[in-house]
């Protein structure tokens, strides 16, 4: 009996020593939670997001003098915290708002993360960030564009990406320029799914266009992850709009491309609102039958040797795919968050929050083509901006608008296949 007790005590002692040692080793790391759709229908996007974050971690945690003055790259770890390494705990939202919320809760209460990023789908960012708000943990989002995310009076939510209203303005200005160049842009049709993303982006585009005296001729809503989209295409075919704006995730975007070809429907102009149309697997599987589709982006590879080109190279090595706008915006948000932790010099959520509020990054400190990063009182980056790109050869998007940033001139009408 006595011997057993001694053994037991010894075990307990050794476990506590191990735990203490573990805790000691952990002091040098900063734990950040990342909620992404790693399974489910948007898993393709989630897996690419994970690769993007891992590349950013590499840049932050290891010395990368080749990046020049790019923030956080030069030395190993976060200088503000004595070279502490950044550790990311990934969680799978499975494409469901409820799961995303539970995962955020788990990351905060069990993994004790000091900040969160994610969650791709606007509808899931909505629920996951509500938990962060409740627990007073900063949530930095890089890619969700639904307007209401920053209209909730949240104090802990920061959004780096341009939002639907910014893009709606870009689309409007772009169409105005095209019209001036003699392209017919009078009737505009919107096709969007019924998720948070689809409904909010389409309603913002509708109102921005309406404010500028342009009405939307046709608004087609459909249920996400459709098994068939023939009726949508036939409605378009009958109404013959000059411009079709597509707001869809990858699964539906691919089906649209295939069905358009099958039903021989080519609108004079298609503008895609990022997401599905920027997914590398969209370009790989149906890029060749979607030649000439216009899209929005804030990402551009830049000249060889530049930080963006280096990032693109690292990302390609990690994921096997070309860097795209969505992955880039996610990575940018992660850099913003880590930069704030670095400046805060602390893992105290309130100090990180204060540092985020004080963020003031200039274009040369960014990997994305924003005019800078500065948050308003709602947590929205007021300097976010973007450009119009076109899938001219069916393989790579090139910048076509505005003229100052254009690599090529827009080719119209839509070519398709």
């Amino acid at each position: 009996m006595r011997f057993k007790h001694i053994i037991g005590l010894l075990c307990a002692a050794s476990i506590s020593v191990m735990l203490a040692g573990h805790a000691f080793a952990q002091e040098k790391t900063v734990k950040i939670g990342a909620v992404y759709p790693l399974s489910g229908n948007a898993a393709s996007a989630g897996v690419h997001a994970k690769a993007a974050i891992e590349v950013a971690m590499d840049i932050i945690n290891n010395p990368h003098p080749e990046f020049g003055n790019f923030p956080l790259a030069k030395n190993a770890g976060l200088a503000g915290l004595g070279g502490a390494k950044v550790e990311v705990v990934f969680a799978d939202n499975q494409g469901s708002p409820a799961t995303g919320q539970n995962q955020a809760l788990r990351l905060i209460t069990e993994e004790k993360v000091v900040a969160l990023t994610g969650s791709y789908q606007s509808g899931i960012t909505l629920t996951a960030s509500a938990i962060a708000e409740k627990y007073g943990i900063p949530f930095v989002n890089g890619e969700s564009v639904a307007a209401n995310l920053t209209e909730r009076g949240f104090k802990w939510f920061f959004r780096v990406t341009p939002v639907a209203a910014d893009f709606a303005k870009i689309y409007y200005e772009f169409l105005k320029d095209m019209k001036a160049a003699g392209v017919k842009t009078d009737s505009v049709a919107l096709v969007h799914d019924n998720t948070e993303y689809g409904t909010s982006v389409s309603s913002v585009i509708t109102s921005v266009f309406k404010d500028n005296g342009q009405s939307i001729a046709l608004d087609i809503a459909y249920a996400v992850n459709a098994t068939d989209v023939q009726s949508q295409i036939l409605q378009l075919k009958e109404k013959k709009p000059d411009v079709v704006i597509m707001i869809a995730y990858a699964s539906d975007a691919i089906l649209y491309a295939k069905t358009m070809q099958a039903l021989d429907y080519k609108p004079p102009m298609i503008i895609a609102d990022d997401s599905g149309y920027s997914d590398p697997s969209f370009i790989k599987s149906v890029g060749k039958i979607s030649q000439g589709v216009l899209n929005r982006s804030s990402w551009s590879v830049g000249p060889p040797g530049s930080p963006t080109a280096l990032i693109a190279e690292m990302y390609k090595k990690k994921s096997g795919d070309e860097m795209d706008d969505t992955a880039g915006r996610q990575m940018q948000a992660f850099f913003v968050l880590c930069g704030a932790i670095d400046r805060a010099g602390s893992t105290d959520p309130a100090k990180i929050q204060a540092a985020l509020k004080a963020t003031d990054l200039k274009p040369d400190q960014l990997m994305m083509g924003y005019k800078g990063i500065k948050f308003d009182e709602k947590g929205q980056n007021v300097l976010a901006s973007g450009l119009v790109i076109q899938l001219q050869d069916g393989e790579n998007y090139v910048a076509v608008w505005p003229k100052a940033n254009a690599e090529k001139t827009p080719v119209l009408p839509y070519k398709g296949w």
């Binding site: 229908n41 393709s44 459909y222 023939q230 295939k258 021989d264 697997s281």
Partner: protein, 287 residues
């Protein structure tokens, strides 16, 4: 009738035939042994991946991919029967449901692990592209799937009603103890039923892959339609699945076009529920 409306209806019929095609396996398994196979959608998914692999490795279209998918899935069906179904059938209903559900997740995430999460796709003109008849656009790949759907339905129906193998299978389904007394081995018959059902499902997957995207979770999207088709057609009725598939396809297309795509599922499901209220056994199911 406007030509677009005709196109909507023809499109709906072709879509419906595809629904019927991937539902026949599900209804057969139910008819034979009262088991709802929740892994059905993932069987379709596996068939799609077989077609994709055959195309990537050999550059061959569904002429090679579809029979091979049928063969691979039929083998899997037998393995699943002896490795899982035979045992869980002895357990409570919940074990049966969760057993096939677990199988579904296992298949889905194995494919996810092996192929990754990217959307894949076969070339658009693998089955002769699209042709035009009297102003109607018809996709050859969908037409092929539709034609095979009719053949599979007819074949399964004849097998069950006109052959001794079919009679034996039905005898086991009716009363397996009595069938055993007549010298029929229930195990063999049920394994054959699983092979045929899974084989037909694999065939369906390979054909659907010619006009749909391929992704590990595609079974989720397609599976639900199969369940609705089978319960509308009557659980266990192969011709019922065909009629139900066509009906759902046309109703979906018409309501999507006339009312709006976002409402089409509401229309289909409310009609479906309304119908089941009057006739819970489905169109052609036994009461």
């Amino acid at each position: 009738m406007s030509s677009i409306l005709v196109q909507v209806i023809v499109g709906g019929l072709l879509l419906g035939a595809v629904y019927a095609l991937f539902s026949s396996g599900l209804t057969l398994v139910w008819g034979m042994m009262n088991i709802v196979n929740f892994a059905h959608g993932d069987f379709v998914m596996l068939g799609m991946y077989v077609a994709f692999v055959v195309w990537t490795l050999f550059g061959a279209g569904p002429w090679a991919g579809a029979p091979l998918a049928a063969l691979v899935l039929a083998t899997l069906g037998v393995v699943v029967y002896f490795g899982l179904i035979r045992d869980i059938m002895k357990g409570p209903m919940l074990a049966q449901i969760l057993g096939t559900f677990g199988l579904a997740l296992l298949l889905r995430y194995s494919v996810f692990w092996w192929f990754g999460a990217n959307f894949l796709s076969l070339p658009e003109n693998l089955v002769g592209g699209t042709f035009e008849v009297a102003g109607l656009r018809i996709q050859a790949s969908r037409l092929l799937a539709g034609a095979v759907a009719l053949l599979v339905t007819l074949g399964l129906h004849l097998l069950l009603t006109r052959t001794s193998l079919g009679s034996k299978m039905l005898a086991v389904a009716e009363d397996s103890t009595a069938a055993q007394l007549m010298g029929i081995r229930p195990d063999t018959m049920q394994a054959i039923a699983w092979a045929i059902a899974a084989g037909a499902t694999g065939l369906a997957g390979a054909l659907i892959a010619t006009f749909f995207y391929i992704v590990p979770t595609v079974g989720e999207t397609l599976g639900i339609v199969a369940f609705v088709t089978v319960s509308l057609g009557g659980f266990g009725s192969v011709p019922g699945a065909l009629v139900a598939g066509l009906l759902i396809g046309v109703i979906e297309s018409l309501s999507g076009y006339l009312i709006g795509p976002v409402y089409k599922d509401m229309v289909v499901y409310s009609l479906f529920l309304g119908f089941l209220w009057f006739r819970p056994q489905g169109l052609m199911g036994k009461s």
